[in-house]
Structures are given as C-alpha cells and as structure tokens.
Amino acid sequence: MHPALFFIFGGIALAGAINLLVQRAPIYSALSLVAVMGALAVLFLLLGAEFIAFIQIIVYAGAIMVLFVFVIMLLNADVPEPTRRSKVAQAIGYPVMALLLVELAGFFAAAFGATPVRTGGYLVQVAAVGQALFHEFLLPFEVTSVLFLVGVTGAVLLAARREERHGAAPRATRVHAGVPTRAMAEALSVPPNAMGGAVIEPAPQPESEPAHARAQGDGR
C-alpha cells in the first residue's frame, strides 16, 4: 500500500511541478504549486511526520500560496509578457542544470547509499518535533525567526518610504488603514492605493482624494 501511495503522490508532485513550468497563465502555475505542496504533505505523512505534513498544508498551501494567488490577482497578471528568449542562457543554463543534478545525485548517493527509506509503520510525535526545535536546534531556529522578522520589517519600511515619496496617502490614513494586506500589496509593488479605494475603504479624508482617483483606473 505504502509504495503505491508513494508513487501516486510523488507522481502528482512531479506532474504539478512540470505543469507549474509549462503553464502560461501565472494563476495556474500558482495553483499547481498548491497541488505540489499537497502531494508533498502526503509524502511527509508516509514518512510518519504527521505534524510536518499538516504544517506544510497550513503554512504553504493555506497562507503563503494564498498570498501568491492574491498578488497575481491584484496585478491582474493574466497574460505573461513575452521576453526575448536568450540563446546564451539556453546554451549555458541546461548544461549547468544537468551538472547540478548529477552533483546532487552523487551527494545523496554518497550520504545515504542504497539504504531504502522506510515508509509507514512509525510515527513522529509532535513532542519530538518540539524537542528537536527548541532544544537541539534552538539557535538556528531563533536565528531563522530573527531573519524573517528583519525581512518583514524591511518590507514594511520600504513600503512606508515609497508611500511618503509618492505623497499618495497622508500619515493619518496609513495608520488608520495600515493593515498587513496593504503593506504586503505595496511591498510587492502594487501601485499605491490600488486596493485602498475599494477594498480597504479608509475613512473618507479629503487628502487622499488623488489616490482614490488613480485607483479608479486600476480596478479590474
């Protein structure tokens, strides 16, 4: 039963990954990435890591990919802009990728040899994951979380600074409606107040008039 499940969901993960690259519309690429995440969660389950499997779904499929889908929708990234296909990139890219894959395969073969992976029959308890995170790997864990914090702070700072330069929204409005969706949208370079006019609905303030006027043009 377990090998069959492994091949089914491994296959789904691979098919999703290939579909992600092949699809023209970004929204379908994002959704196939969701499918990949789901299939990976099942593979984690097969390895007995229940907790990781569902965290994978909650965090990646349920939160991060939702934000991706959101941004794709807000930018209305429906038709991709064709770029000039670089011959040099193709000539160098494929061989380098092949080399990397061979290297990786060699590394894994050296590290794990031919020992088969055991699927099913054992279960990683949630407490064990906690022990590993907060005892064994406490320092890397905390450092990673600080890294995330820095990233978030930086994004908010960049968004706030650009807003001031554009003079789009006065400080009062921003504090008033300073919600993460807004910061997120602007960090990912949505024009200022593209959401503000209709979605966020800041309290009517005369200063923010120009921004609203511009938002009209950006609506779908």
């Binding site: 929204i27 569902f54 909650i58 934000l67 889908v69 807000l74 949630v126 008033h176 919600v179 969706t181």
Partner: protein, 339 residues
Amino acid sequence: MSMPTGIFILISLIKCAIALFVLLTLVAYIQLAERKIVAHIQSRVGPNRVGPYGFLQPAADAIKFILKEEVTPAAAHKLLYLMAPMISVVVALVAISVVPIGGTFHLFGYPTQFQIADINIGLLFLLGVMSLGVYGIVLAGWSSNSKYSFLGSLRGGSQMVSYELALGLALIGPVMIAGSLDLRQIVQAQSHIWYIIPEFVAFCIYLTAAFAETNRIPFDLPEAEGELGAGYHTEYSSMKFAMFFLAEYVNMVTVSCVATLVFLGGWHGPVFGPPQLQLWLPVFWFCLKVGFFLFLYIWVRGTLPRFRYDQLMAFGWKFLVPLALANVLITGVVLSVMK
C-alpha cells in the same frame, strides 16, 4: 488496529454516508431555523407556506436550486469558475470527518467511534483543511471576471487569512493545557473542568474569529449585499450558488463543533440510565452544545450590524492577535508555575 481492512472500510463508508446525510439535512434545516428565528427577531412570521409551519421549505428550496438555469458568464475563466464551488464544498465536508461526537460503540462486533477518522492531530488537520477553504472564495471571485465578485473575494481572502491566525492562536491555550492535538484527548482532559473556565479569553477570541472565518455577520464583508451585490458569488447561479451556500453552513457547523470540543467539554454531561441511554446521552449533549452555537450564529445575525472593512482588519490584527498571543504566554507561565 485489530479489525480487518474490509470491515474497517465498510464501517468507514457507513459512517461517511450517515454523516453526509445528517449534515446536509442539518444544513437545510439550520437555514430554515435561521429564516424563522431572524423573522421572529424582526417581528415577522417567516416562511410558513410549504408544509406545516413551513417545515418543508428546505425541500422546496432544493428543488428550486436544481431547476434554476445555470448561467456561466461569457468572460469567466471556465475551469476555475467550475472548480471554485467544488473546492469550497469539498473542503467544508472533509473538515467534519475528524470531529468526534461521542464515545466508543460496537458495530459488527468491532469497537468503533462516533467519528469518521480518529487521527492523532485532529485539531491540526481541521485548521489545515479550513485554511484551504479560502481558495474557493478567492478563485470564485477572480474567475467570475466581475468587479463585485473580485472585490468580494479579495475581502474574503484577506479576512480569512487574517482571522485564521487569531483562530489558531486561541486554540493553542487549550491545547497546551490538554497536552495533545488529538480531539478525543482534548475532550477527555476536560472531564473535571471545561476549558471555557480557565481559557475564557481564548474562548472569546475563538468565537469572534470563527464568525469572521465563516464570513458571517458582523464580519460578512465579502458578501456585503449593500455594496457588492452578493460578493464573491455574485455571478454564480443555481446549484453552483447552492454549493457556496452549503459550504458556508457546513463551515458554521464545523467551527461550532470545534468550539464545543475544545471549550465546552465535548460530549461531557450527566450520563445515567441503561447502557443504550449511556451510549447516546453523550451524543445528545454534544449536539445540544453545537445547537447552542448555531443558535448564537443566527441570533447575532439578527442583532448586530456589519463592521467597516478597516475596522475589521484593525480589530483582527491590532486587538485579537496580540490578545491571543498574550493569552498563550500567560497560559504557558501559569502551566509552568503549576508544574
């Protein structure tokens, strides 16, 4: 598990069929109850034409839904437009499968539970599946290719992602006390005291976030009919609309079940009498508690006005999330002191 695989599959299928039947009937009648209760709150009579006291109204509604013409907007993204209501319904129905509603009983001579899937991390499974529900709403709005739908789905998406955080954090307190993510063990840990007493703040946060998570008044901005037509499902008709409707009410049942399991002691209650009664009384207590939450939903709908969108977001991020975090911290400190 000592029972043969065949029997296990058979029992699971029987349980699924019963759960599906009960759930769909329940949803139809919650909807009738909602119309009746809101009518009485507003000094009206409510539906009373179909059958005695309007009791057959859900059947009439169902027939109407099925017979209505299905309209697909010409500019819609067909595949996603079709998938969105399916995602909503499937996600809503899958979530209910890990909810235990009573103790253990015997079927075909094998012990089994009042629960479809008894898994170790039921609560996490529930949160995971519920977090996927947002795709139904977001894709519905986007694929409809209409302004109102799109704005509704953006509101819905950001609202659900925001309140999911408060919802999950509120549940951490009880999980810390119970020391388990298994819904059965959480209920069993409450045999002395229901967690609503030590975790009252978490209960309030959970309840608020649950209303937002299911897009119900006072947080029903995604389908604010005064501004958005009908929000993300504006362009949906007939059974496709009914599927969103169904998903919303099943989600209401699910979050009510979780509130009952985690805060109100699940199926705990006075148990007495002959063995058969002792088996079914816990189920009755569980249903009674869930019924209380469902009534609360309807009551609130008939009573409260709607939030403004920026108020909703500010309330979620600046009040509920910090409060939930503080609650986790305090719970942790108290637990380690008591240890």
